[in-house]
């Protein structure tokens, strides 16, 4: 699949000397949903802001649909829609006026039918004449999405789109994002909600301390890094693990009433059968058992916490 956004050797050092991005290279594939994960201050918003033209890069190149974002900024920017993290709206304006303004700003002639379609999709049609200041936070978020979609972008950046919105609106947004993807729109979303990335994304990128730590297909990532846990509810509590079992990746939980075994789904032998034999030999009985897949959140935390400070290691460049 061809890249619709290509970032090469991108660096950003702010005036105060803070290095926000360190030699980022990244391709976003046409038509995919790409989730960019990272802790606060990792550089997610800076990366998006540079691609959209809001922040100047210190060095490096970026192209959007084949257009350089600096030399050919008109063509590049006309392809991109942005929903920023903050709720930035002109509160005195009506919903309709602000969405029309956005469409004009991106060089598109008026198209009342299309604007009506967007507003209806986002359940904003009844509020089209309302002042934005009179809307709830969730509705304001919808207005910002309507503004970003008003010029029919091929690439949509959603920077923390569901931050502070209720469950219903979050579900609505997920449906909307899926609908956009079906229409061929490439979506790049940053999020703190790992379940959002797990639910929505085709590929996951992890950024930390201004460096891309990893870019991988979501399913491959979860399979590759996805460890499982086997939890055994014991009949009698154990104070300590018997000496013979200490070589196993086992731990005790719930005041000795739970035995937790970690295993890798990718390895040829999980060791479960052997474990059960050993438990039987030691007379350790259990009344229940359950296994759990490691979540994307676990993977994310282990990736981010494992990374040394920026500059302490060679930049991990991931291009796929």
């Amino acid at each position: 699949m061809s890249a619709i956004i290509s970032v090469s050797n991108l660096n950003k050092i702010y005036a105060g000397g803070f290095r926000a991005l360190n030699n980022i290279s990244l391709d976003i594939r046409r038509g995919e949903i790409f989730a960019l994960l990272g802790p606060n201050g990792a550089g997610k918003t800076t990366l998006i802001s540079i691609i959209c033209g809001i922040v100047n890069p210190s060095s490096g190149t970026i192209s959007a649909d084949g257009h350089d974002i600096v030399r050919d900024y008109r063509a590049a920017r006309s392809k991109i829609g942005l929903v920023p993290q903050e709720l930035c709206t002109d509160g005195f304006e009506s919903v309709m006026a602000t969405v029309k303004f956005s469409r004009g700003l991106f060089g598109k002639p008026p198209n009342p039918a299309y604007i009506e379609q967007i507003l209806r999709q986002l359940s904003l049609w009844d509020k089209k004449d309302s002042r934005i200041m009179s809307l709830s936070g969730g509705m304001k978020r919808r207005v910002m999405i309507a503004k970003a979609l008003s010029h029919e972008p091929e690439i949509l950046f959603l920077d923390e789109p569901t931050a502070g919105v209720d469950v219903e609106l979050r579900r609505d947004m997920w449906d909307m994002v899926r609908g956009l993807r079906q229409r061929g729109v490439t979506i790049i979303l940053t999020t703190h909600y790992i379940e959002e990335a797990e639910e929505m994304a085709d590929r996951i990128g992890v950024i930390n301390k201004g460096e891309i730590v990893l870019v991988e297909d979501k399913r491959v990532l979860m399979d590759k890094l996805g460890q499982k846990q086997l939890r055994l509810q014991l009949q009698k509590p154990l104070a300590v693990l018997p000496q013979e079992l200490q070589a196993y990746p086992l731990s005790l939980g719930n005041e000795g009433m739970e035995l937790i075994y970690h295993f890798d789904t990718q390895s040829e032998h999980t060791g479960i059968a052997d474990l059960f034999r050993r438990l039987d030999e030691h007379g350790i009985d259990y009344k229940d058992l359950q296994s759990r897949q490691r979540s994307l959140e676990d993977i994310f935390v282990s990736l981010v916490s494992a990374q040394p400070p920026a500059g302490a290691q060679q930049a991990t460049e991931v291009r796929s």
């Binding site: 930035c88 002109d90 004009g104 503004k147």
Partner: protein, 253 residues
């Protein structure tokens, strides 16, 4: 050229005028009318003619300039400052629009509002005093030139300001005093010789003098010099804006 974007910004800014009609138009018209009542009718009726023009008619160009300068700066500075303040500037910066096009939208709208306001004040003045316009084409030219130049200046203030206080400080502490001391209510020939020389350092003197010349064919300073001064100020403003756009000063980090 992104005509749709220029049009969108221009109409958005003009739309703000209609939403804030009292503040944008009615307020300056009322305050200017009060000047006419106090200085034109009440005090003016007891004053001698200046350069063969009744005092009430003499102050018309100065009062229009006073409103024009204040409103041009206010409209343009607020126009660009407000998106910075509420964060919607992200949309302007991420749009496929060049910096000159952004300027055309904001400054064009601010200047248009000021010119419309100048016209309304001119019509209002007719209710209080008789006047004639000796050079109507030049009068309109000076009106537009001044509105554009001071809208450019206001745009710079709007970019520079990082708070409402800064937005007000230059218009209140510099522009308004310069306008009052620039010959709005008197001819600079009425000043002592030393103050006549000092007052020539005030750029507003040239604006008012040229504008008054277009009305009554009398000027404190040579009209050519006035035109040159207005154009010089415009070029300085454009150069500063070009630098702002090149460096992204207070717009892009």
């Amino acid at each position: 050229m992104n005509i749709h974007a220029i049009r969108a910004i221009y109409l958005f800014e003009l739309g703000r005028t209609w939403r804030t009609l009292m503040q944008s138009i009615a307020s300056p018209v009322i305050s200017t009318s009060l000047y006419f009542v106090v200085f034109g009718s009440a005090i003016g009726s007891r004053m001698v003619e200046i350069d063969g023009v009744s005092y009430g008619a003499f102050i018309i160009p100065g009062l229009i300039m006073l409103a024009l300068l204040t409103e041009s700066i206010s409209n343009a500075s607020f126009g660009i400052y407000f998106p910075k303040y509420n964060g919607t500037i992200y949309e302007i910066l991420s749009a496929p629009i060049s910096m000159p096009e952004i300027l055309l939208g904001y400054v064009g709208a601010a200047a248009s509002k000021s010119v419309i306001l100048g016209g309304i004040i001119l019509i209002t003045a007719r209710l209080f005093v008789d006047y004639h316009i000796a050079h109507p084409v030049w009068m309109v030219t000076f009106l537009v030139l001044t509105a554009v130049t001071f809208s450019l200046f206001g745009f710079i203030i709007g970019i520079w300001a990082d708070g409402f206080e800064k937005l007000q400080i230059i218009p209140m502490l510099i522009v308004t005093p310069l306008t009052f001391l620039g010959g709005s209510f008197y001819s600079i020939t009425m000043l002592p010789p030393l103050w006549q020389t000092i007052t020539l350092a005030n750029p507003v003197v040239y604006l008012i003098s040229a504008f008054r010349w277009s009305f009554y064919d009398v000027a404190d300073v040579n009209v050519g010099v006035s035109v040159a001064m207005i154009l010089l100020f415009m070029v300085i403003c454009l150069a500063l804006i070009a630098w702002i756009f090149r460096t992204g000063y207070r717009l892009k980090s």
